[in-house]
Structures are given as structure tokens and as C-alpha cells.
Amino acid sequence: MAEVISQTEIGPDLYKLTISARIPQEPADRGAAPGRFCHLRVRQPESWDPLLRRPLSIYNAGGYNSELKVETSHETSHETSHETAYETDQLEFVYQIRGRGTRLLSQFQAEDQIDCLGPLGSGFSLDFSGSNIILVGGGLGIAPLYFLAQKLADINNLQVYLGASSAALLQPMSADIAKLDVKLNLATDDGSLGRAGTVFDILREDFAETSCEGNKSKQPDYIFACGPVPLLHSLQKYMTANNLPGEFSLEKRMACGSGVCLSCVCQTASGNQRVCYEGPVFPAREVIFNGC
């Protein structure tokens, strides 16, 4: 069980949820990391509707940010009788109301208990130093990039490209990222913030300029992206054409979140892979979008 610390509407149907979650310390890779997600129960106890949890990528976590807290405790599990050491980590999520599940989630208030499974899944690669890295986020796909940018910004040259339909959706998250040591490039469909167009349009524009000038110093070493499939698909073609490596975080309809049901598989070069288990982060070149 986790406890809601705060729930704030930060944009049109856009919410920031902060919870205090108990995370087993063993194994060590169970904790919060950029790219990982939590699977939150949105129904009330003793209700079975809506049945499934809702997966949300971690926007920010206490282990990485001094504004949020981490504590440790010990507890014996009722089910397995094993004593486990827990870390209580404050986790933040940003989500938009898309349907009944997220609407119910938005009704949770401070001090409410919320059943949180996770953190789950694979995270982004973090082992970079002095690299030229680009983060690309479209819409709610921006959410996992704030956490990632915090981890990478200090010791790398980070350029962040963010796009959304409007300023109202883009500004709350881009404002957080703007506080970090990154070069921020923004795009909105209506031009209400940053340049008009899609995030892929502005990225391609900038790099077309770079190659005309023959300025190889701006050539990125690695690209991380999260967003709608058309964005990732365009980006993948661009990255393949320019031989750029990187990672994509994918989203799929998900049931168990723990790798057992095969609801959320995506097609990759190495066969079907589970977004919840092998993913949500995959090497960019491996993902096959036609089947997704």
C-alpha cells in the first residue's frame, strides 16, 4: 500500500500525483529508476470495477531528488512470512484523464491509501558521461523524461525536444525540465508555445541545419524518446538513416504488469516482447512499429 501525498491539477485534465510507496530493497533493481513504471489500482477496495490497474511511468522519485523523501523500514509479509526491508520512496506521476480509470485516479486525495504495484519494467540506460544526448517527448510521453533528464543533465550535454498539442498541456512539464541544465526546444501543434509543428518537425529542422553547416559537434551520441507511435516511427526512420542509436519507451494496453499474461506484447526484431517486463524501454532499432 502507498499513501497519497498530494494530487494537483496542473493543466487541462492533467494531474500530478505524489505518493509515498513502500518498495522492497531486495533485489536492488526493484526501486524507482527513469523509464520504470508503477501499476496503480484505481478502484475502491471491495469493488471490482474498473478491474485492471493503470500503468503510469515515474515522473520523479525521492531517491533522485532532495525535495522528495526516502526512508527505510522492516516488515513481515502476512502472505509469505518473510521479513523484508522496505524503502519508502516518494514517487511522482503526471497523467491525463483519458477514461474512467484515470478519472477515478484523479479523485484520490492526500492521505488516501492507494495500492501501488512496482516500480516495474526496465529503465533507460543511464551509463553516459560527457555525451551529446537528445531526449524527445511527445504529449504524455514527456512524463518519463523529466526523471531521465535529472539523472543525465549534470554530466552530459542534454538537448530536450518536447512537443504537445497545446501550451496548456506542454508548459507544466516543460517548466520542470527547464529548471535543469539542458537546452530546451519546444513545439506545439497550434504554436501556442515554442515553434508551431510537431516535435519531430523541429528536431529534423535543427539537424538538417546542423548537417548543412557541417557542424559535427552537434551530432548526438544517443537519443531517448517516448510518445505517440507516429512520432516514434518517424524518429526511428530518421535514426536508422543517420545511424543514430537510442531507446524508446513504449505504451500498450496492459493487464498484469508483471509479465505473466502477454497482453502488452510488441513486435521487435527479437520476436514478441512484453512492454511490462522486457520493456517499456527498448533499443530503438529493435522495435517493429507496423505490428503495434
Partner: protein, 327 residues
């Protein structure tokens, strides 16, 4: 009756009050406890083993396999319905050879009994699967999924036709001498006749029941939600249907029953046991909480304690009518 005997034992021996006997059996298959994982909701056990000791389970019924590997259906593979879940995973699995090569060595080390679930689209598919798994000590038996469409009969599910179920069970039995469980579909018109046919053809127990065919439509796109159009309904929405079938089949006393369908809590499991199931299978609940089978087991024990029962067997079939239990 055994129930009376254990009640007397309890009175004589207060120590048993804290040592409730939850062992049970499905025919010759002995189980340390009555909670099994339903096929398709526990993979091959690897992911759940990261979270708890699999020896906590009565048995594992692992992901269904087919003769050839299958990559499954197109997305979306699931849709949420009122208190239910539709799935059309499409039997994504590594195939018989892949299962033997990649999964059996791992399953050999899994402590509780492991049942392999087999699916086919023709009688010869079932024969090949039974032949391929015959004599394999790593598994304690086969669960035969007869809910797949029979390609030779225009796609009608085997499990709706007693004669086809008999042919499938005979084919499996002719190659496989171990424990055989037949998993019935709630879509069968005459489930008693289907169960009878399974028994006469060599099945030793019945799983009651599989998911119920269903669908969901997106009113904005005006199209079916599932990539495969139709799926199987599971979860609480299925529970009363499954419970009725368990009760009906237990009253007819055809074969021992593994009951399941929307069991989410210990109290739900108790209903199936009272209806005559000898053990319960937990499926969709595991998709909401990987620890669900253990919580359900704890819930069963709590119920037995509360009602002063020293032995699980005391409650099995207690909701059946007198005339039926005395048979």
C-alpha cells in the same frame, strides 16, 4: 463421512485448531493445498517465482502450448468490461519443442506439481502434444483445453460437442498414461454430456471453467476493440456462471472438479469449494495482484478457522443438496 471424523479429531485434539489440514486431491493428483494458478495467468512460473516461493501453491497450470510456436493475436489483446476482462492473447507460446527445450528444465525444479496445458485445432494436434509429453517426469499431468475452434468442423469449439470432446480425450489418453484434466468451456450447451464424454474417454478430473466468449465495441471508432474481434471473458463478471457449472457438475458427481472463474478472494474460493470443487484455480486475480493466490489461500484458512473446521474436506460440497451428497 470423512468430515464427521475430522470434526471428532478436532474435539479430541485441540492442537489441530492451529494446524488446519488443507490438503486435497483431484483424482490421483495429491495437492498440499487447494489453490492452483490458472493457465495463461502465470506464464511458466518464472515471473511469479521472483515474487514468492512457488511451493506456496497447490499446483501450477502453466501457459497453454500448441504443436507449433504461435506469436499470438494482434493488439489490442485485452479489453476491460464491467467487472470483467476480455482477452484474446491467441495462445502465444513457444510450441511443443520450445516448451520441452526451454521450459521443462526449469519446471523440473519447481516444487509443487506442474500441469501442462495443451491446445489444438485438430485431433492430430492433441495426439502429437500428448505423445510429445508422454513420460515426462517434469510434469504431473496434462490439462486439455477443448475451447479452441476445431478447424475441421468449421471453427466450432471442440468443447461444445460431447462427441468431439470424447475424441480429443481418447486421443490424449491413447498417448499419455498420466493424469488428465479436461478444461470445459462455459459455452457448451449440455455441459453434463460434455463432462460425461470426457470421463468415459479417460479424463480423471475437470477444470470448470474456461473463459466465456464475448466482445467489446468502441462507440467512437465504431469498431470492435479487440484485434481479434472476439475474446474470452474472465474475472468477477464470469463468477456466477462458473459457480453454477461447478455446482451442476458436482451434483451429477461425474469427476473431481477444479473450480474457477472470477475467484478474487478467499471468500470467492469458499463458494466454489462449497459447490463441490475439490480445488480452485486463480486466474484473473493474479493479473491484478501477483500475490492473489497466496492471499486466497490465507483467506480459505481464515474461513476454516472462523468456522471451527480442522479440515478443508469438511466444507467441500456443503452447498449441494442432501439428496445429492448422499449418493
Amino acid at each position: 463421512m470423512a468430515a464427521d471424523n475430522s470434526q471428532r479429531l478436532m474435539a479430541d485434539n485441540p492442537r489441530l485448531k492451529n494446524n488446519i489440514d488443507i490438503t486435497t486431491a483431484l483424482g490421483d493428483l495429491q495437492l498440499k493445498n487447494p489453490v492452483l494458478t490458472a493457465s495463461g495467468t502465470c506464464g511458466f512460473g518464472r515471473e511469479l517465482a521472483e515474487r514468492y516461493e512457488l511451493s506456496e501453491l497447490g499446483a501450477l497450470i502453466v501457459k497453454g502450448i500448441t504443436v507449433e510456436p504461435r506469436s499470438g493475436n494482434s493488439s489490442p489483446r485485452i479489453a476491460e468490461t464491467p467487472a470483467g476482462l476480455l482477452n484474446s492473447i491467441g495462445l502465444e507460446n513457444p510450441g511443443l519443442e520450445g516448451f520441452i527445450r526451454e521450459e521443462l528444465p526449469w519446471l523440473a525444479g519447481v516444487k509443487p506439481p506442474v500441469l501442462a496445458n495443451i491446445s489444438g485445432h485438430s485431433i492430430s494436434d492433441f495426439s502429437r502434444l500428448a505423445e510429445g509429453l508422454a513420460g515426462r517426469q517434469e510434469i504431473a499431468g496434462l490439462e486439455v483445453n477443448v475451447s479452441c475452434p476445431n478447424i475441421g468442423a468449421g471453427g466450432l469449439a471442440f468443447g461444445t460437442d460431447p462427441e468431439m470432446v470424447a475424441r480429443v480425450a481418447e486421443a490424449v489418453r491413447s498417448y499419455y498414461s498420466g493424469f488428465i484434466l479436461v478444461k470445459l468451456t462455459p459455452a457448451a450447451g449440455d455441459i453434463l454430456a460434455v463432462a460425461q464424454a470426457a470421463r468415459e474417454s479417460g479424463a480423471e478430473a475437470l477444470t470448470v471453467c474456461n473463459t466465456m466468449p464475448g466482445m467489446e465495441i468502441d462507440i467512437e471508432s465504431r469498431a470492435p476493440v479487440l484485434g481479434n474481434t472476439f475474446g474470452g471473458l474472465s474475472g468477477p463478471a464470469l463468477q456466477p456462471i462458473a459457480l453454477k457449472l461447478v455446482y451442476q457438475l458436482a451434483q451429477a458427481d461425474i469427476l473431481p472438479i477444479l473450480g474457477g472463474g472470477g475467484i478474487m478472494t478467499g471468500r470467492d474460493a469458499i463458494k466454489f469449494l462449497l459447490a463441490g470443487a475439490r480445488a480452485v484455480s486463480v486466474g484473473t486475480a493474479t493479473l491484478l495482484d501477483p500475490l492473489a493466490p497466496l492471499k486466497i489461500k490465507t483467506g480459505i484458512v481464515d474461513y476454516l478457522k472462523k468456522h471451527n473446521c480442522g479440515n478443508l474436506q469438511e466444507i467441500i460440497g456443503q452447498a449441494l443438496t442432501e439428496a445429492e451428497t448422499s449418493r
